[in-house]
């Protein structure tokens, strides 16, 4: 039984999260401030922590720092602070994911699942064959043209697969629309065509939890697309 600790000073939000996660079969521990969360963590076997930043007594950032002193469990920060700087701070102190309020419940559930899979069972997927590429939770098996995100298979069309493979093979390199077109279709790009952009969007919808904030296939606006090597 997977235990998830949810910590937020707003009781209704905690309750709502409990409802969603219970439906997925997780057992929920509830805390309403940082200290309470730390105490519960100390007495229970918790697999994942969802925590707000702005809380009484001990805020989420400090709590994360303390937890990271002895534990490496996945921490998802759930905050109304949506600035880039807030996100960077949260991830830097040791959080695994950052979800801004108001959040999409399905996205939160997906992220919880993703983090749990990576934390608990990802290691088993490794070492299948040589033609396998992995970036974070994204795994591409080129032998059987399969794509896994956090261990779950994703179905891609051949063109989508080719584009994803091209980007994964060249981690960090930014491909412009024309370059992708020339690489995939093997012909010169003539005129304006938004085919590539549409494909990219489709790929993102399939492999990303929130396509607007992609973890893998990133848009460099005005330049092109890329997949970054894991930090």
């Amino acid at each position: 039984m997977t235990q998830i600790l949810v910590c937020d000073d707003d009781k209704e939000i905690v309750d709502a999260i409990e409802i969603y996660l219970s439906q997925e079969g997780y057992q929920i521990l509830k805390a309403y401030d940082g200290e309470q969360a730390l105490e519960l963590l100390g007495h229970n076997d918790v697999q994942l922590l969802i925590m707000d930043v702005m809380m009484p007594k001990l805020d989420g950032i400090r709590a994360t720092l303390k937890i990271r002193e002895y534990s490496s469990i996945p921490i998802i920060i759930l905050s109304a602070k949506s600035e880039d700087s807030d996100k960077i701070l949260g991830l830097n102190v040791g959080a695994d994911d950052y979800v801004t309020k108001p959040f999409n419940p399905l996205e939160l559930v997906a992220r919880v699942k993703s983090n749990l899979r990576r934390y608990t069972s990802l290691g088993a997927m490794n070492g299948d064959g040589k033609l396998q590429y992995q970036v974070g939770g994204l795994t591409i098996n080129d032998e059987n043209k399969q794509v896994f995100v956090d261990g779950e298979a994703v179905k891609l069309t051949p063109i989508e697969y080719s584009i994803l493979l091209l980007l994964v093979k060249n981690l960090g390199k930014v491909f412009s629309i024309n370059e992708i077109y020339e690489n995939i279709w093997n012909e010169e790009a003539i005129g304006v065509d938004n085919t590539v952009a549409v494909h990219i969007r489709h790929i993102r919808e399939k492999i990303e939890i929130n396509p607007r904030e992609p973890r893998y296939l990133k848009v460099v606006w005005g330049v092109g697309y890329k997949i970054d090597a894991e930090q």
Binding site: D10, E12, I13, A16, I17, I19, Y20, M54, A80, K81, S82, K101, P102, F103, N104, P105, S176, I177, V192, D193, N194, T195, V196, A197, V198, H199, I200, R201, V219, V220, W221, G222, V223, G224
Partner: protein, 889 residues
């Protein structure tokens, strides 16, 4: 350490009083020295005054300068007296009826070597003396021309003439005729031949003209109208007959020359006698037997050529030379003169030359026959003569003087000491905390100029008082002189006057001096001065004129004055003849012109500074301040105004920035607070949706709730974004990006949405790379907002035209055109205002901030954002400067 410099007021006053009393005493002492430092003695020539130098006195009277001078005077007197006695006495008695042969008298006593002629007349001595007393009278006598020529000897001899450079004969004065020999003829050949050309009358005329020009000796020539010459001679009117009972002089003489000579002898002899008679009267009394401590014997030749002895002690005349010398040597001061000995016996500083001089001055002819014995009895048995009086006074004054002077100096030192002490401490008092304060009294606060005038007046007063004191001292002295004895009767009031003067001098001097010191110490000599008042007033007036708003006054008036100065100076330079005045004016003019030039230059420099300041403020350096301290007049005014404006702008900018920031903070915080309940709303709406709702109505409501809560979320995000952009509170990550690529990405990204809105996008992208330098994520935001806007408001089923173009003037242009769904009743500019939407009902979704954010971000990134409305055609133009790689690197 400053404690010593301050004393109490009472101590001050006490010391001051002591000081003033000391001054009074000093003045009394000075008065006593002054009153007693004169000696008056009677000599043959009248009273003689000696001032005793109180600082340089020998203890003994006989060693003093006064004594020496007195003795010399006495010797002088005695020698003259001897000569005069010889003239006037017969058998050592005054003989009024002594017969004087004037020519013989003049030969004996007149100027040696001079020709006094042979003609003579004899008078009784008293007649001659009285004659002079009543005055000599003259009348004109006429002389014939022949007599005149005879008197002046031959005129027409060659010796009297020369031939001048022009060949004319000229009379050069009377000369003795020379012997007429060969040499003579040769010598005067030219003159003689020239003289032959003139008539006798012409030659005489020349001589006459010469004499006319040099009339002398009481002879006046006059040419009458008929051409005849008249000669007038001043001839003495006889008051007394001669001893021969002659009353007409020309009976005694032979011709005019003798007449004139004799007349002159009479006049000279009479005058000499009259003069000597006065002296005789004085001296005979002064040096008479028993009236003087001086005794003398003079032996000389009398008129008859016999040896005669003159003495004030008749007995001594009987003794022979050696005996006389013995007698005279007994006294402590003596002088014995033998004509044939080069040495003078005596213990005073006399030489043979001195005696010679004295005898010569007395016009005595037989110097080699004069023997003189003079001695002084220094026991001063005779009480009233000059020596005894002088000795008495001297002995009385001199020892006292030294003592008085010592006291005087001591008192002066005391006075100066107090003066210095009070000077150092003037104007300082202890404050209650023990510190020293400088104070001023009411007197110190009057204008410095008035104060200085007072000092000047004080100085003048002192000058007048000194004059008065001098006069008074002279009066004292004169009184004493007339008494003929020592100054025993100097009045107490006179000392009192000196004392009063000393006291008040000290009081006034200290009053003024301490005030001056206080003024200087408190540094308010200038502060309190009229000069400062006048300078300030002038400067104020000047400033007022210069800062005057009207250019007529601030520019034209000084300019007119400048022109007038130049004009007047130029006129002066032209008119003045005196080069000094010209030079002064020229220098003045130069100074004025150069000064005006410098002023104009400085003014212009100041003006440039102000312009520089304005430019800096204009270019955003609103904190810049002009240094108004070194500016003047209008410029100061101007720079103050500029500073004020700059300050205002600075404040406004600061306030506005601060306000925006506060607003952003507020909005950010509020949005955080909004988000938490919003999260619950969204979540529970979602949960509600998942429950099994049978009622389709309820399902519809939940749907609406979901939409609106979603919109609320977008609104809060946009709100934060918009406020951040408008407050400039965002950080930009600038990089090179391709606007064409961005357009393609955007269309691809939003393809579903566009399709859902039934819109077809027609894109046209320039073949040239449309590179710009911007923040890619913000640019995406701009594009997203624009296309979202299109999705919301474009007419369904229409085409959207998007074009990216690189223009010739190095710009990248993005133009998006679409047809609006609703009729637009709004101005294009208003569309980019905050919370403005095309439809005023606000019924459609969206925050109303989309276009505002797009425009603001574009501007922040350095681009232009423009919306054009043409009926239903909605056009957005965005342009950025083209990024040129070679230029950047």
């Amino acid at each position: 350490m400053k404690k010593g410099k301050s004393i109490s007021v009472f101590r001050r006053l006490g010391l001051g009083l002591v000081q003033h009393i000391v001054a009074a005493i000093v003045m009394v002492l000075i008065a006593s020295v002054l009153f007693n430092s004169f000696l008056t003695v009677t000599t043959m020539n009248g009273p003689k005054i000696y001032s005793l130098d109180p600082l340089n006195q020998k203890s003994s009277f006989e060693d003093s300068e006064v004594f020496r001078d007195l003795f010399q005077t006495a010797v002088n007197d005695v020698i003259r007296l001897g000569v005069i006695r010889e003239q006037m006495e017969t058998n050592h008695k005054f003989d009024a009826s002594k017969v004087i042969d004037v020519t013989a008298f003049m030969k004996r006593y007149g100027t040696a070597g001079r020709n006094y002629g042979e003609a003579t007349a004899k008078f009784k001595m008293e007649d001659l003396i009285i004659w002079v007393r009543y005055g000599l009278e003259y009348k004109n006598r006429t002389m014939s021309l022949s007599e005149f020529v005879n008197y002046y000897q031959e005129a027409c001899i060659p010796e009297n003439y020369t031939v001048d450079d022009y060949g004319n004969l000229t009379f050069t004065g009377y000369h003795e005729p020379e012997e007429q020999d060969e040499q003579y003829a040769q010598k005067y050949e030219a003159i003689l031949s020239k003289m032959a050309e003139y008539t006798e009358a012409q030659l005489e005329d020349m001589a006459f003209s010469y004499v006319m020009s040099k009339t002398s000796e009481g002879i006046a020539l006059n040419k009458e109208d008929d051409g005849n010459l008249t000669v007038y001679v001043n001839s003495l009117v006889f008051r007394y007959a001669t001893t021969d009972h002659q009353t007409q002089l020309y009976d005694l003489v032979d011709g005019w020359p003798e007449f004139i000579q004799l007349q002159r002898n009479i006049v000279d002899a009479s005058n000499t006698l009259a003069e000597n008679y006065e002296l005789y009267q004085n001296c005979a009394k002064l040096y008479a037997e028993g009236k003087s401590n001086l005794k003398y014997v003079i032996r000389m030749r009398n008129a008859e050529g016999e040896k005669d002895m003159f003495s004030n002690i008749p007995d001594l005349a009987e003794l022979d030379d050696e005996k006389l010398t013995e007698v005279f040597e007994e006294n402590s001061k003596y002088l014995i003169y033998y004509p044939n000995s080069l040495e003078i016996m005596g213990n005073e500083d006399f030489t043979e030359g001195n005696v010679f001089e004295l005898l010569r001055a007395a016009h005595y002819p037989f110097l080699e026959d004069v023997y003189i014995w003079i001695s002084l009895d220094t026991s001063y048995e005779v009480k009233d003569d000059a020596f005894s009086i002088a000795s008495e006074m001297y002995e009385r004054i001199v020892p006292n003087t030294a003592g008085i002077l010592t006291i005087l100096i001591a008192l002066l030192i005391i006075w100066v000491g107090i003066f210095l002490y009070l000077t150092v401490t003037a104007g300082s008092v202890y404050a209650e905390d023990g510190s020293v304060k400088h104070y001023l009294n009411a007197f110190d606060k009057i204008w410095t100029e008035v104060f200085l005038c007072t000092i000047a007046g004080f100085g003048y007063g002192i000058y007048r008082i000194i004059l008065y004191l001098r006069q008074m001292t002279m009066t004292v002295y004169e009184t004493r002189m007339s008494l003929g004895s020592g100054a025993k009767n100097v009045l107490l009031t006179q000392y009192g006057l000196y004392a009063a003067v000393g006291f008040w001098f000290s009081v006034l001097l200290c009053l003024l001096w301490y005030s001056l010191v206080r003024r200087l110490k408190s540094l308010n000599a200038y502060k309190n001065s009229l000069l400062r008042l006048v300078i300030n007033a002038t400067y104020g007036a000047f400033e007022t004129v210069m800062a005057h708003q009207s250019s007529l006054i601030s520019v034209l008036l000084p300019y007119m004055i400048f022109l007038m100065l130049n004009f007047v100076s130029l006129i002066g330079i032209i008119l003045f003849q005196d080069p000094v005045k010209r030079a002064v004016l020229l220098v003045f003019l130069l100074i004025v012109d150069v000064a005006v030039g410098i002023r104009l230059f400085k003014k212009n420099a100041e003006f440039n500074d102000i312009i520089d300041g304005i430019n800096r403020i204009r270019s955003g350096e609103v904190e810049y301040k002009l240094d108004t301290g070194k500016l003047h007049g209008m410029n100061k005014f101007l720079s103050d105004a500029v500073n004020n404006i700059g300050e205002g702008i600075d404040n406004a900018v600061k306030t506005s920035v601060k306000d925006e920031r506060l607003k952003t903070d507020l909005i950010t915080n509020v949005s955080h607070d909004l988000k938490t309940p919003l999260t619950s709303i969204i979540n529970y709406v979602d949960l509600l949706k998942r429950t099994n709702i049978q009622d389709p109505q309820a399902k519809n409501y939940v749907e609406i709730l979901e939409n609106k809560s979603q919109r609320l979320k977008d609104l809060t995000d946009d709100l934060v974004e918009a406020s951040k952009i408008s407050s400039g509170n965002i950080t930009l990550n600038l990089e090179v990006l391709d606007l064409g690529e961005l357009l393609q990405q955007t269309i691809g990204e939003l393809s579903e949405k566009l399709e859902a809105a039934k819109l077809k996008v027609v894109a046209e992208i320039d073949e040239k790379p449309s590179l710009i330098y911007a923040d890619s994520r913000r640019m995406w935001r701009v594009m997203e907002n624009l296309f979202n806007n299109i999705c919301k408001y474009a007419m369904e089923g229409t085409r959207v035209y998007a074009e990216v173009k690189v223009t010739d003037n190095a710009k990248v242009l993005l133009q998006i055109k679409n047809v609006s769904k609703a009729q637009m009743n709004i101005h294009a500019d208003e569309l980019t205002e905050r919370f403005i939407r095309g439809d005023s009902s606000r019924s459609t979704e969206g925050s109303g901030l989309g276009l505002y954010i797009a425009k603001s971000l574009t501007n922040v990134l350095g681009g232009n954002f423009e919306i054009q409305l043409d009926a239903d055609l909605f056009k957005v133009n965005i342009d950025f400067p083209l990024y040129q790689q070679d230029k950047k690197e």
